[in-house]
């Protein structure tokens, strides 16, 4: 496999996807705060301002679909590497590129269908059937933007992988587009633990 090379597509896409994911993460934090304020208001003042669950739903939709792209650049979408790890390298490359091409195809399909959702919303000026009467184009365009980001990354990966394979660089293709191996995941888990403040490690 040689020294780990940085995937050129990842180099461009990772900062964007990471930034988008972080924004969604903080939106989640905002929902946490809203929910807590809502609970306190409900319990103490017997008054509930409506719509926290509605906003929470929108954040969930945008967060998960924008996260598709982030999970893709961090190679953490679930793939089973049981069989593929035992194949010869050339067959591995074919399987890996097939996976990326199919994922890209699905992403394009989802974005096409998702675009219809936004188009209809804009056409009919749809608002949510709730006290908030949210104009649905607002959350839906953010949601679609997340899906488009996912599609762009997926298509770029597929094209890059295809190019690498066709030019005979199968081992490079395998390093970049192989499934997340169990060991990678384990390393991530351990790295996450090791990022803990050493202060909290001191045993009494």
């Amino acid at each position: 496999m040689g020294k780990e090379q940085i995937n050129p597509v990842t180099r461009i896409a990772q900062p964007i996807a990471r930034w988008a994911a972080l924004l969604c993460g903080w939106a989640l934090m905002a929902v946490v705060a809203l929910i807590c304020i809502e609970i306190v208001a409900r319990k103490l003042f017997n008054s509930s301002f409506q719509g926290v669950d509605e906003i929470g739903g929108y954040v969930m939709a945008v967060l998960s679909c924008t996260g598709f792209a982030y999970a893709l650049v961090t190679n953490s979408h679930v793939r089973v590497d049981l069989l593929i790890a035992r194949l010869p390298r050339s067959a591995q490359a074919i399987a890996n590129i097939l996976a990326m091409v199919i994922l890209a195809g699905i992403a394009v399909f989802i974005v096409m269908r998702g675009t219809v959702v936004l188009q209809e919303t804009l056409e009919f000026g749809s608002v949510s059937t709730s006290p908030l009467q949210t104009p649905l184009w607002i959350p839906q365009s953010l949601w679609l933007a997340g899906l488009v980001l996912f599609m762009l990354v997926a298509v770029a990966y597929a094209a890059h992988g295809l190019f690498l394979t066709l030019t005979g660089k199968t081992s490079v293709a395998n390093t970049h587009y192989g499934p997340p191996s169990l060991l990678d995941e384990v390393e991530q888990e351990i790295a996450a633990l090791e990022s803990r403040d050493p202060q909290s490690e001191t045993t009494p």
Partner: protein
């Protein structure tokens, strides 16, 4: 209508595509598109966009990132080692010594975290150094951590139960209540098997922990309080009907933030890392969930559940026979599919039949979660085996696999118990929420 042969071929194709390394979520979308195109027309997928919007614009599913975030914060900023030390004060004197602490700490951690893998990594990192210097059978040490950590998805909160609840319209609150007794029972079974094995073969654990003085033990007991408090607040507010699981999780996140603040481990960098991990884990779950929802829709139109239910009634399968078939099916499937893929991928096909056979959806949810636990420790793809081995960083993974066998047997025993006495699962949810 679709024939049984076609269904089997379709399922075989799904497994094959997953095994050659396609993205699990993509496989499900691809099968939906293929199924729709071959048997009806791709036009039935015209509303796919609206479906994905409706699937993801979902306040129930929002509990997933909330609980993931809660777990991440506690794993990265909490102090597992203090909890471990405190528990070993009380459990270390049982036959089998610190092995019980592994189980106890796992159960405790499971009570605030929704993920078994995170539990395995956390407990493993604290327990392995502590046990390396002592005279314990390495297999049993590793096995107790790998298996104990699977309690993470059975003892609420549990990510798997949220996914199951959202996909099948089963109340997550009920599922959480249903998981408590089986979770405690499995903890007790794990400890019992340790005691029995160490009585029969005393060489497995010759080392006893010296008793810490009472003053120290009582002082260390305080270290358990934050975890107990977070669990009590989160679960209590769900059981008392004060908050939905999503709301309770949000409260839990605030408690965790306050706890980290008091530990002085709360930094912007840490929060950002936790948030990124949360988005990443949520996204990978949701991609599979939306794929399965799409597959669910297509399979429903194709009449797959009816065809399978018809087949089962033709061969005259009873409820018990059906459950035993599922037990074997899931144990085999769990050997080579990743846990999430196994659970989410089979719900669209299996759940409608479960309902048709008159099996309680809450009971089946718990059954399915126990099957997920089994798959987490069955080779060759059991994630917990690799996590524990990864934390250990030496020796052969065979040690971990051998060590989990007694605990695997206890899981099967638990399944047998909940089949014979379904009330182990159903009593608490019926008591706290009324009969379902």
């Amino acid at each position: 209508m679709i024939t049984l042969t076609q269904i089997t071929l379709g399922f075989g194709l799904m497994l094959l595509l997953m095994l050659v390394g396609l993205h699990v979520g993509a496989v499900m979308f691809l099968l939906s598109i293929l199924g729709a195109s071959i048997f009806i027309s791709p036009a039935i997928l015209a509303s796919l966009g609206n479906q994905i919007w409706a699937d993801t614009d979902n306040f129930v599913l929002l509990a997933i990132p909330m609980f993931v975030l809660l777990g991440e914060l506690l794993v990265r900023g909490g102090s597992t080692d203090k909890i471990y030390n405190s528990l070993s004060d009380w459990l270390g004197s049982l036959t089998g010594g610190l092995l019980h602490t592994n189980i106890g700490a796992s159960a405790m951690f499971a009570a605030v975290s929704g993920s078994s893998v995170a539990t395995a990594a956390t407990i493993g990192r604290v327990a392995l150094p502590a046990l390396k210097t002592r005279n314990y059978s390495p297999q049993l040490v590793l096995g107790s951590i790998a298996a104990g950590a699977t309690l993470g998805i059975l003892i609420p909160p549990s990510i798997n139960m949220i996914i199951y609840g959202a996909m099948t319209n089963t109340s997550v609150g009920r599922l959480y209540a249903a998981g408590v007794l089986p979770g405690i029972l499995l903890t007790v079974l794990f400890m019992t098997v340790i005691v029995v094995m160490c009585r029969i073969w005393p060489q497995l654990a010759t080392d006893r922990v010296a008793h810490a003085p009472w003053s120290v033990r009582l002082k260390r007991l305080v270290d358990l309080l934050p975890m107990i408090a977070i669990f009590a607040i989160v679960m209590g507010s769900i059981y008392l009907g004060w908050a939905t699981p999503t709301e309770a999780a949000a409260v839990g996140v605030v408690c965790a933030l306050l706890l980290l603040l008091s530990y002085r481990t709360l930094t912007l960098k840490l929060v950002n890392e936790c948030l990124l991990a949360t988005v990443q884990i949520t996204a990978l779950i949701v991609l599979i969930v939306t794929g399965a929802a799409c597959l669910n829709y297509v399979l429903g139109i194709l009449g797959v559940p009816q065809a399978l239910a018809g087949f089962l009634s033709d061969i005259g399968a009873t409820q018990l026979q059906f459950i035993l078939m599922l037990l074997v099916f899931y144990i085999i499937l769990g050997c080579f599919l990743e846990t999430l893929a196994m659970m989410i991928g089979t719900i669209p096909v299996v759940f409608p039949i479960v309902v048709a056979m008159g099996i309680d959806p809450v009971w089946f949810g718990i059954f399915l979660v126990i099957m997920c636990e089994v798959s987490l420790i069955t080779p060759p793809t059991g994630m917990n085996l690799y996590v524990v081995q990864g934390v250990r960083g030496e020796g052969s993974i065979m040690d971990v696999m051998v060590g989990t066998i007694p605990f695997l047997l206890m899981m099967i025993l638990l399944v047998a118990l909940i089949i014979v006495m379904p009330d182990i699962v159903l009593w608490l949810p019926n008591w706290s929420f009324g009969p379902g």
